[in-house]
């Protein structure tokens, strides 16, 4: 019995190690490669440990102005896309999660359906639109276009969040004579902060990682220096 338990624990441990290895080895390999001098990268067999570590690649990339500008652009676009999605999304979600009004359910399901919108289906006509209004190669066009994906899921997440808030707080605010707008700003919004953080992180990751729109709505970068 004891032997069986030890065997079981041992197999479980192996499973966990395989699991973590599969997830993390590619990351390790990227780090290992980044710290290996470039002349050693064409060596077979490959070096599995970066000793001594060579930081030359990092020095080169950090002194490369194209890299720095790209990084800044990514941060600006992803940051503003996130803020935009949160601002518009929180307003819409408050309406959908807390207010009673006709037409709410269809809107909710249309927005849910839009979380799966195939970007590839509109990349051509969106490109034409952006060029026609003179916004090609602007950070604004890119940040705005990310709303197509980030806004639906932000609204969806925040709506369920607003819905779960107890209605007593809201009613108390109304009894005290607050307008719906004041109730939103001073009661509901602060309570929804955890949901806003969650959807904000998701929106940022999506905008930071997006490739198709970024490649299409900006010209190709100049070739990297040798």
């Amino acid at each position: 019995m004891k032997f069986r338990r030890i065997l079981f624990r041992f197999l479980f441990l192996i499973l966990i190690i395989l699991f973590l290895g599969y997830l993390l080895f590619p990351i390790y390999w990227a780090i290992n490669t980044s710290l290996t001098p470039s002349k050693n990268l064409s060596k077979t067999p490959a070096d599995y440990l970066p000793f001594p570590p060579d930081f030359n690649a990092f020095q080169r990339i950090l002194s490369n102005s194209i890299f720095k500008i790209s990084l800044l652009n990514s941060a600006i676009v992803a940051g503003s896309a996130t803020l935009l999605a949160l601002f518009l999304g929180a307003l819409a979600a408050c309406a959908l999660g807390r207010f009673r009004f006709p037409g709410k359910r269809p809107i909710l399901y249309i927005i849910l359906a839009m979380t799966m919108f195939p970007q590839i289906s509109i990349v051509g006509s969106l490109y034409e639109m952006i060029v026609n209004v003179g916004l090609y190669n602007t950070k604004f066009a890119l940040a705005a276009s990310y709303l197509l994906t980030t806004l639906p899921f932000t609204i969806w997440i925040l709506t369920s969040f607003f819905k779960s808030l107890p209605s007593e707080l809201e009613e108390a605010a109304y009894v005290d004579g607050a307008t719906p707008l004041q109730t939103f700003r001073f009661v509901l919004l602060p309570l929804a902060a955890p949901g806003i953080v969650t959807s904000g992180i998701l929106a940022f990751i999506h905008s930071w990682n997006e490739y198709l729109f970024a490649m299409t709505f900006t010209p190709p970068p100049p070739p990297p220096p040798p």
């Binding site: 966990i16 390999w29 709410k104 195939p118 289906s121 051509g124 719906p180 990682n209 490739y211």
Partner: protein, 300 residues
């Protein structure tokens, strides 16, 4: 009393008005960025428009669609997309279920294991594809190094991303690495909702682990499984990034997404490309309807 009723009505009316004021910016954004371009795409698919030309294209009816449906390239891209979808979603489901069960069982480093699951998911697909592309390199890649020199499983290096069949397998493997964590997280959330009492009761009744898994875990996990599968299928059908970076659609990996992009942007065939876009849209739409239905059932 009367004053209270009036103000209650007033409150409701001002709520309805405010609801639309709150919704308006989002709805306008989604119409401008989603619905309008979609209608444009439909319209363009019936014209011979080219990208970047000043004059508008001519209306040519169904010609684009007729050309599309008579093209082998199109059908082979549809076939490849199907292959990719079945391969990646199938693997992701079984691995994801395994990961979720592992991450749900109690062990000391569980928190770290769950955090590690997030890393591939949070990484840009482009970066993941580049990393794996380097690992798959036929001469200097670590995969060949491991399989040929270290383990001796293969007798000579394989050009993973540069020959038919292996190229598709490579693309699927990268996608599996990147998105299995996502499937695992959805299934993990489902697992955590299964009440512990059920397992305890079955324990009392003398059920073994297999019976517990097939008679309790799997049936109760079904809603989460349905959501994860539909979600992943949708993503797999519109796959673009990983293929574009890893193989550029060569060696039998051209998906319907990359084929569309090639025609739209690289060949500047806006009209013809739009016809491909429309077909993708309809394929996706079928799955979206299924997804919304699944969510609705759980909602009610």
């Amino acid at each position: 009393m009367i004053g209270k009723i009036i103000s209650g009505n007033h409150l409701q009316r001002s709520q309805i008005k405010l609801a639309w004021v709150f919704l308006a910016p989002s709805l306008i954004a989604l119409v401008v960025l989603g619905f309008y371009p979609l209608i444009r795409t439909f319209f363009l698919s019936f014209t011979d428009s080219t990208r970047g030309s000043v004059e508008a294209g001519n209306f040519i009816g169904l010609k684009n669609y007729l050309e599309l449906f008579s093209k082998n390239e199109y059908w082979s891209s549809v076939f490849n997309t199907l292959l990719f979808t079945i391969g990646s979603v199938g693997l992701e489901f079984f691995l994801g279920l395994g990961f979720a069960l592992l991450a749900n069982s109690k062990f000391r480093a569980r928190g770290y294991a769950r955090a590690a699951m997030l890393i591939p998911w949070a990484l840009p697909t482009v970066v993941a594809a580049r990393m794996w592309g380097w690992m798959f390199n036929d001469v200097f890649g670590v995969i060949n190094d491991l399989l040929v020199l270290k383990l001796g499983i293969l007798s000579k290096p394989v050009a993973w991303t540069a020959q038919p069949v292996w190229a598709m397998i490579s693309v699927i493997l990268v996608d599996v690495w990147k998105t299995t964590p996502f499937v695992a997280l959805i299934l993990l959330a489902g697992l955590q909702q299964i009440p512990e009492e059920l397992y305890e009761a079955s324990q009392v009744d003398g059920a073994n682990s297999f019976q517990k898994f097939f008679l309790i875990t799997l049936p109760l996990l079904k809603p989460a499984i349905v959501v994860a599968l539909i979600f992943r299928t949708l993503d797999a059908i519109r796959v673009f990034d990983v293929i574009w970076i890893l193989t550029a659609g060569r060696f039998g990996t051209e998906s319907i997404g990359t084929y569309n992009y090639r025609n739209l942007i690289d060949f500047s065939r806006l009209g013809f490309g739009s016809a491909i876009s429309v077909t993708i849209f309809f394929i996706i739409a079928i799955f979206v309807v299924m997804y919304v239905k699944a969510i609705r059932i759980q909602d009610e």
